[in-house]
Symmetry: C2
Subunit: 388 residues, 2 copies
């Protein structure tokens, strides 16, 4: 039910092939010192780095580089970024990359002037931000996380075997994001399909909750249908602008708070996947894919009506002459076939997980209570075992 | 196709039964002088006026009343509102009412300090705003127009027989809007269903354009399905919170620029309806309803694929064994039956239009070129004749 809530999403988006020009609109709004955050250097190979630097220079900015953000940004890297931000007196943090780079930029933006240990305060204790926040802007080169238009920032602590996401309030949302579908063309297939599944799972995590009649569910069915359609085109032809642009746009709207309105939201697939990543450092979307079918088959009987609706409205399962269970199961089979076609990782073993690692992963799994069934430790172990 | 565009919607929404409390968060951000804009006084009968005044007083505001905003706000009323705003030195214009009241508030906000004639500058010449803009906040009591989260402001000039909407940029969007579904319970049935059809038509005006594969179309199909479902409940039980809250939320997202992304958009039903209103002063949603079926039957052959998709994805028409034309026509029949069930005005005669008035209405109809067929004057006359 759409109960009491506040909606506010102030991020300004520049979308399309010419969207990098939006930087010229935005940069004059900030001071001279820009902390340029990026990952392993692929932006240097594909030319995006040069284009961004040219615009930064043309706008008279002092650039402070903060490279090497890893796919699962670590707490050590976060401390390093905070130091750069303070020393540079950064007026703007410009993230050029995918969700990890955007997440990291937001984590630095709230942590640089945090007087306590930010991992302790913002991740273990999940406190609200009460210190100075450095503005963040994003140039997106990968899609999936929705980080370009939300307050999410996931950080991994390998020593503690924890990967935790804090969803910060709208003061921490990127002030602007540049979304150019063409920048996603050169992404390796593995990362592309992992990102597509991350999007799908963001939607299903929110969809599979509640038993009410809610407009958010109808919006999510639309997003899912469009995603399934466009992703099938994109895997065949990665430079299909229309497909890639739809996927980019869906990613943003899948996780910018809109479709969560009125939903308790589940997020257990993410909790399982993040626990796997804390033990393997595997690609985020693939950790989700590997545990999804086992999780959804576990939870399906507890949310049968919704899984039936999912089968009919998203996967066009014809319900005639079938029981609710049969319809629901057929929907999950269609989803599984789609995932296999996409080339997703369907088993944890492919990510290096062994049976011996399961107890540790179970311990690292945070339990959320918004879905159709709150799993206990035995059930989590069983789901992970069925995912091997 | 999702080409180059900018998306930015800064309006903060407070939604739900307790949302009026959001005023206490917002009022301290503005100066002391508040211009309180409302309509014919229904807010005094249902108690909303007293509740709003209490909060304004508790926040130490000087209230300058600007009542009597009519369903189709006139250019004369606009001049009056500008005078009140200047004399009051209004720091905030607070609109309490439906779309007309919100539209009017935005028109005053850009016109109060306009040194030229605002009707001439912002409506006939459609110029950009280059003068001071007074911030606007809204407390919504009727749903339909989406005015609570966009830059639209329709003004009527009876002398010139013109009703024109200017869509202003995001500086003119309401800074905040209070959306309490309970406030819509007491609305007379006629206004309720007119508002519901206004929402539906906002979506179809955008949906029936383009032949590409666009995520916006999928989102609109979701909004339409949810609207059809909830409106059928609301007409039977106007105090069903779930249905009314979904309708309120759909209204906002139907016309806050999101689903227009990548669409050329049609808007000819609105142009026809606004021409009818300029000659009759009839209720907006009913003018749209009365011309819709004739218009869509006219344009259907030019956008057959989309009308077929509409029939299947929105109205669940089974296409098996049918031609594309048959599927499309069946979809429109289902839409017509739904409209009749809702109790909408299906003929212009019911709004006081006579055959003799048609040439004048044809002259008042602005022609847009984003739909599947740009109608010429003869076609417009034919559509209006078929709507009688």
């Amino acid at each position: 039910m759409l109960g009491n809530f506040m909606y506010c999403n102030p991020t300004k988006l520049y979308f399309g092939e010419d969207s990098l020009a939006g930087l010229n609109e935005e940069l004059p709004k900030y001071g001279q010192n820009v902390q340029l955050v990026y990952g392993g250097g692929s932006i240097k190979k594909n030319g995006i780095y040069d284009k961004v630097m040219e615009i930064l220079k043309a706008n008279g900015k002092n650039v402070f580089e903060d490279a090497g953000v890893m796919p699962n940004p670590t707490v050590h890297k976060l401390y390093e970024g905070c130091k750069i931000a303070r020393e540079a007196k950064a007026d703007l943090i410009l993230a050029v990359g995918g969700g990890s780079v955007c997440d990291y930029a937001k984590a630095v933006s709230v942590s640089a002037y945090c007087t306590e240990d930010p991992w302790e305060k913002y991740y273990l204790q999940m406190k609200d931000v009460d210190n100075e926040i450095i503005p963040v802007g994003c140039v997106l080169t990968m899609v999936g996380t929705g980080s370009e238009m939300n307050g999410g920032a996931v950080i991994t602590n390998h020593e503690q075997k924890l990967k935790i996401g804090h969803v910060f309030d709208e003061r921490v949302y990127p002030k602007f994001s540049i979304l150019n579908p063409v920048y996603t063309y050169t992404l390796p297939r593995y990362q592309m399909v992992a990102g597509i599944y991350d999007i799908m799972n963001h939607i299903t995590e929110q969809y599979f909750s509640g038993e009410d009649d809610n407009t958010s569910d109808y919006l999510m069915e639309g997003l899912l249908r469009s995603l399934i359609h466009s992703s099938r085109i994109a895997v065949k032809n990665p430079t299909d602008y229309e497909a890639r642009s739809n996927i980019m746009w869906i990613a943003t709207w899948a996780l910018n708070t809109l479709v969560a309105k009125g939903k308790s939201t589940d997020w257990m697939v993410h909790m399982l996947g993040q626990a796997v990543a804390a033990h393997t450092d595997a690609t985020h979307g693939m950790t989700l894919a590997a545990v999804s079918m086992a999780y959804y088959r576990f939870v399906c009987p507890f949310g049968l009506e919704k899984f039936k609706r999912f089968a009919m409205n998203v996967w066009d399962v014809n319900p005639e002459g079938k029981s609710d269970e049969q319809v629901a199961v057929e929907g999950l089979q269609k989803m599984e076939a789609y995932m296999e076609d996409l080339g997703l990782t369907m088993h944890l073993k492919e990510l290096g997980v062994t049976e011996e690692m399961l107890p540790g992963i179970v311990e690292s799994t945070l339990v959320m209570d918004g879905g159709y069934k709150v799993p206990d430790k035995d059930e989590i172990r069983e789901i992970l075992k069925n995912s091997l």
